[in-house]
């Protein structure tokens, strides 16, 4: 399990330590861009722009940083808010709703047919999750945010995160029930070699 001493990093950035800032940038830049891209119809140029501006802001106000939990959740929240602002500006809120409804199929590049099929099935199953439930599950599974970080990001209780995560697993299992015994089992044997 990764372990960075985030409290120390936070303090170092407050003190203006540039090398720590670089380390944090290198660690979170790429995942944050992928996260932002979800709000920009997969447009990575725009996503990179948004994330860079968030880092510029982080550096500009490093001395007065008011971070309650972790740098990671601060950055995700900053990017999340910047994305929502951008959407508001463009008055194309429906794009975000579309994202929440899960219209992302076009962005996938498939390696081969069987994993393509698995992906399609998973995507379909995820699409059937309620929007909030799906968002929470993706933040945990894809972005590897801690429960507490997700709760802070979405302004919900940790209890809600727990409930929704359990629900996501339960629903996904039901959706994939026929796949679980044969296909997934086979897939994972293959992946391990």
């Amino acid at each position: 399990m990764e372990h960075h001493n985030e409290n120390n990093e936070l303090e170092a950035i407050r003190q203006g330590d540039e090398s720590v800032f670089d380390t944090v940038f290198r660690r979170y830049y790429e995942p944050l861009c992928h996260y932002a891209a979800k709000f920009c119809d997969g447009d990575l140029d725009e996503a990179e722009d948004i994330v860079q501006q968030c880092f510029v802001k982080l550096w500009e106000k490093h001395a007065a940083l008011d971070i309650t939990w972790s740098i990671k959740s601060y950055l995700y929240k900053a990017v999340h808010n910047a994305c929502l602002n951008r959407i508001r500006h463009q008055q194309t809120k429906n794009r975000y709703q579309q994202f929440n409804a899960g219209q992302l199929e076009n962005n996938h590049s498939f390696q081969d047919e069987s994993s393509a099929e698995l992906r399609a099935r998973l995507q379909e199953a995820m699409d059937n999750l309620p929007p909030q439930c799906r968002n929470i599950f993706e933040l945990s599974r894809f972005e590897e945010l801690k429960y507490r970080e997700i709760a802070e990001l979405l302004n919900i209780s940790i209890k809600t995160v727990e409930t929704q995560m359990g629900k996501a697993l339960r629903v996904l299992r039901l959706q994939l029930a026929d796949y679980l015994v044969t296909f997934l089992g086979l897939c994972f044997t293959m992946l391990q070699f």
Binding site: A37, L118, Y147, G166
Partner: protein, 333 residues
């Protein structure tokens, strides 16, 4: 089921996301071992979790983090230097950019904080394992802390310990690994050892599992080899070697391996309370002396309690406040 959980999936999800605490982990283990059905259900959810990683949207092109960082730095530097005041001499853009760069770079250099020592601390709830930047691994027991010198790994690898910790030290004969605890110093090159200043605040107990360790205060020193123990008494300032049979459960907080050899149940309960962070009570004082002979290899607490209950025909009662009471009239048969 634990209070506040409607569905077992919530605990399984927490487990898969690495969010369970010790109590939830042992509860899940117990649930899994209840039936084959439970175990299979758990495995299916685990498969779903693993497979879900495949559904992560893939980027249309790779992201160049280094290029982005460069671009960002340029922006930060030019923005900071972009507000010249009271200047009448006009400089070309590149001159200004270069001046700004020098000013800002100088400021970074001057304002760079002195390296501060690194603090690692384990809370009341759990044991913490961390890797130091020389690759050595330290396991801190609950409520213990380690302060690593800012010059760590320059000439030597020096740190201050409070509480109890187990060190697995990567070998580096040129940079001795030095642990300070109270007025005692423990110096090693590459080895594994445990330091305990928790069990008795007046004593520091050093246990060596591999290699050689030098333990000293200002006046005396002892070289310990694997299997040996040194006990330092802070009141009498005596340092003594102990090579007899050691408490086999010294490292139980780390690996949850217990060996009991006709150990009185009162003592057993004390050790379980420390390692699992729980509150187990014996209802009847007679039970204190029941002799327990058993080996438990990293079992869930509930399993350990069941085994103890079976060997002395006792009952286990989980109280609403979390206390676990062991009930029985005597040591069975």
């Amino acid at each position: 089921m634990k209070e506040g959980y409607e569905h077992i999936e919530e605990i399984i999800a927490k487990h898969l996301a690495g969010e369970t605490d010790a109590e939830e982990a042992s509860m899940l283990l117990a649930w899994k071992s209840e039936s084959d059905e439970n175990r299979q259900y758990f495995e299916q959810l685990q498969q779903v979790w693993d497979a879900a990683a495949q559904a992560k949207p893939q980027a249309s092109r790779p992201i160049d983090t280094e290029a982005a960082l460069k671009k960002l730095k340029t922006q930060i530097y030019t923005q900071t230097g972009a507000t010249p005041r009271g200047r009448t001499i006009s400089m070309g853009f590149w001159m200004r950019a270069a001046a700004a760069l020098i000013v800002v770079a100088g400021a970074f250099f001057l304002l760079r904080p002195k390296a501060r020592p690194l603090e690692i601390a384990a809370n009341t709830e759990s044991v913490l394992t961390d890797t130091l930047n020389d690759g050595s691994v330290v396991t801190l027991n609950r409520n213990s802390g380690l302060t690593v010198a800012s010059a760590f790994n320059k000439k030597e690898r020096r740190m201050k310990l409070r509480g109890e910790a187990y060190f697995e030290v990567t070998s580096n004969p040129e940079r001795p690994f030095v642990v300070e605890v109270q007025e005692l110093e423990i110096k090693v090159v590459g080895t594994a050892f445990n330091v305990d200043n928790t069990s008795n605040p007046d004593e520091v107990i050093v246990t060596v599992t591999h290699g050689k360790v030098l333990v000293h205060d200002q006046n005396q020193q002892i070289m310990l080899t694997a299997g040996e123990q040194a006990v330092y008494n802070r009141i009498t300032h005596t340092l003594s070697r102990y090579s007899g049979a050691q408490n086999p459960n010294t490292l139980a907080y780390k690996n949850r391996v217990f060996q009991f050899d006709a150990t009185p149940l009162g003592k057993v309960v004390k050790q379980l309370n420390t390692v699992y962070g729980v509150h187990i009570k014996l209802q009847n004082p007679v039970l204190e002396n029941c002799p327990l002979t058993a080996t438990y290899n990293n079992l869930a607490l509930n399993r350990v309690l069941d085994l103890i209950a079976t060997s002395f025909s006792l009952q286990i009662d989980h109280q609403p406040d979390g206390t676990i009471v062991i009930i029985g009239a005597g040591c069975g048969e």
